[in-house]
């Protein structure tokens, strides 16, 4: 079953008197347990597409079916529920709550999901353990390194067991070694059966994925399954 089924969506922004066609006509299907990279130069519409896929924004026209549900017409509150249950976000700038410790940051989506205190604590601790941060649960973001922060963010994305993980330049604010570690974590997550959508403009990051979608001027330029990809240990291997 397709998790994401996009048909001819377009997004037009009004900037002053000018209309900006951020997305012209994009159709796209993503299956369960796919590992997709969305690439493109700035202005190609990849951020807009990511906002669409993440249900942060709705298209001007076209249809977006998320697990067969039409989300293109949903209200803000229904979209919030979809984001909470189905989508795990990982951002370039981590976007953790600065005053909350790691555990509370990871717990937050579960609070909004209405999970009881003990259940969510257990789930959040487990999620932090899964990203190797059992010993950092009560540290605040400013007491953690960049890599650790991104791990907290990944734990937060995973804790609700979402249908897709949406990562927007997840290594953009990290040095290359830490970046590789994070990418390795994504491999592990993918291997456990999760669906990952990676938005990046770095070729070598995109090559971690199994499928690369290239955008240009709000249109899909290229959509191909990768033949050569990085393996978790960093070598190039034939698929």
């Amino acid at each position: 079953m397709n998790i994401i089924d996009i048909e001819h969506i377009a997004k037009i922004y009004q900037v002053g008197t000018e209309e900006v066609h951020a997305l012209q006509d994009v159709s796209l299907r993503i299956d369960k347990n796919e590992y997709v990279a969305i690439m493109g130069p700035s202005g190609s519409g990849k951020s807009t597409l990511m906002n669409m896929l993440g249900c942060l924004d709705t298209p001007t026209s076209g249809k977006y079916l998320f697990k067969s549900e039409n989300v293109s017409q949903m209200s803000d509150n229904d979209l919030a529920t979809i984001r909470n249950r189905e989508i795990g976000f990982v951002f370039q700038t981590f976007n953790l709550l600065p005053r909350s410790d790691a555990l509370h940051n990871v717990e937050l989506p579960l609070i909004y999901a209405g999970m009881s205190y003990l259940d969510r604590k257990e789930r959040a601790e487990q999620a932090l353990a899964d990203v190797g941060l059992s010993d950092r649960m009560h540290h605040k973001p400013n007491e953690l390194s960049g890599g650790q922060r991104q791990r907290v963010a990944i734990a937060r994305a995973l804790v609700t067991k979402p249908s897709i993980i949406l990562a927007d330049e997840p290594t953009g604010n990290l040095d290359s070694k830490t970046g590789e570690e994070i990418m390795q974590l994504f491999h592990e997550i993918h291997a456990k059966g999760n669906t990952i959508i990676l938005v990046t403009h770095e070729e070598y990051i995109a090559e971690h994925a199994l499928r690369i979608i290239r955008l240009k001027d709000g249109l899909i330029e290229n959509d191909e399954v990768v033949s050569k990809r990085y393996t978790p240990n960093g070598n190039i291997a034939a698929e």
Partner: protein
């Protein structure tokens, strides 16, 4: 349902943490509400206190008592018309007493301002109240010591005096007034009784505590000439339900005594404490409204301060709002969070203000009476909560409707 409770707890948790994170700012904002609630509560306890003591004072006058007088306490009749009225004389009083059937008691009263001395101690400008022994029946007097002057003493104009509690306190600090001779004017009077505290400060010279009571004959003898004086006939109805009938009877009897024709207006007035009450309400009512309005303004200024700081808070935490929305916070959740923050400021400030007001009113109570009541406490907390919600609503709504995409990008 679970969601709402968790969101509420999370909201409260965030609100308190946000307040803690900006301690100085929170305290300064609270100060506005603190001052607002303090003055509003203080104002209302003062009003309540003054009301209470007025009620107490006026009940010392008795709701079932009528005062037949040349002068009206409150009326539209020009003062010179009243001045030209004939005096009410002792003769009128005697005729009235004989003719009126309904009253429980009838007594003539006449007052004179005098200085009372005992040894080195003196009280100036005492309202000396001259009457008959029936006067005590028109009051609810109770005695700390001794008794009211008797029928015999009153009829024979004996130089005896009953002291109000304040006068007695001034002249006899040790409380040994009975049987002492005090000087009223140049005359010597024997103290036969001392009243317990009756009224309240608000009646001023009318307060029984600041008066002295002597047989009316002694006033004519020593201080005033009878033919120039007008007495007040004090009439007490058998019970408050009979006041109206007693009044109607009194009017008829008086008109007859004064020989008025059917088309002539009354040349006397029948006064009642009710009129005093109306007058009080019309004067103090305005002061009350003005006072609460002015103090309310300071609360309003406090509320503006909160609204202002909440807008700043929303602006500062735009990114946080974006993050929360991205991971599933609904509009309602964000709205609740900021409303809770504003309410927390107000309630904490309000409770502090309430405590301050209670302490202050205890201090002020030493000078003028105040009265802190449970309803004031509840209203004060309610008002602070309401202020918080009202002043938080616009900023909270702004936060709730932020676009997640824009706010995530906000620096």
């Amino acid at each position: 349902m679970g969601n709402i409770i968790f969101e509420f707890k999370e909201g409260l948790f965030i609100a308190l943490r946000a307040l803690k994170a900006n301690k100085v700012r929170s305290i300064l904002t609270m100060l506005g509400i603190f001052i607002g609630i303090t003055v509003v509560v203080l104002m209302s306890t003062a009003i309540k206190g003054i009301d209470n003591s007025f009620q107490k004072g006026i009940s010392a006058l008795g709701s079932d008592v009528l005062y037949i007088d040349k002068w009206a306490w409150f009326s539209n009749v020009e003062w010179w018309k009243m001045r030209n009225r004939r005096n009410i004389t002792m003769e009128d009083y005697k005729k009235f007493k004989d003719s009126a059937k309904l009253p429980l008691a009838v007594a003539p009263t006449l007052s004179s301002r005098q200085t009372i001395k005992f040894g080195d101690r003196r009280v100036d400008n005492v309202f000396l109240n001259g009457s008959t022994s029936d006067y005590v029946k028109t009051t609810n007097f109770t005695f700390a010591q001794g008794r009211f002057y008797s029928d015999v003493e009153s009829n024979s104009s004996r130089q005896v005096v009953v002291l109000g509690s304040e006068i007695a306190k001034e002249l006899f600090p040790r409380g040994d007034a009975i049987d002492k001779n005090v000087k009223i004017g140049k005359e010597s009077f024997k103290v036969v009784g001392v009243l317990t505290e009756q009224g309240s400060f608000i009646l001023g010279p009318f307060n029984p505590d600041n008066r002295a009571y002597v047989p009316i004959g002694t006033i004519f003898k020593n201080f005033k000439t009878m033919h120039r004086s007008t007495v007040t006939i004090t009439v007490r109805a058998k019970n408050p339900a009979l006041v109206e009938e007693t009044k109607i009877e009194a009017e008829g009897v008086m008109r007859k005594i004064r020989g008025l024709k059917y088309d002539e207006p009354n040349d006397f007035s029948i006064n009642q404490q009710e009129g005093l009450m109306d007058n009080y309400n019309s004067v103090v009512g305005v002061i009350k409204i003005a006072g609460l309005f002015i103090t309310g303004l300071s609360l309003f200024v406090g509320a503006i301060g909160i609204m202002n700081i909440m807008f700043v808070s929303v602006r500062e935490r735009t990114r946080e709002i974006g993050i929360r929305k991205a991971i599933g916070a609904k509009k309602r959740t964000i709205l609740t969070q900021f409303l809770l923050e504003a309410s927390a400021i107000c309630v904490v400030g309000g409770i502090a203000g309430l405590i301050a007001a209670v302490i202050l009113s205890m201090i002020i109570n030493q000078f003028i009476p105040t009265s802190v009541q449970v309803d004031v406490v509840i209203i004060a907390i309610g008002v602070s909560l309401l202020t918080g919600i009202l002043s938080g609503i616009a900023p909270a709504y702004t936060a709730a409707k932020l676009d997640p995409v824009d706010s995530l990008r906000y620096e």
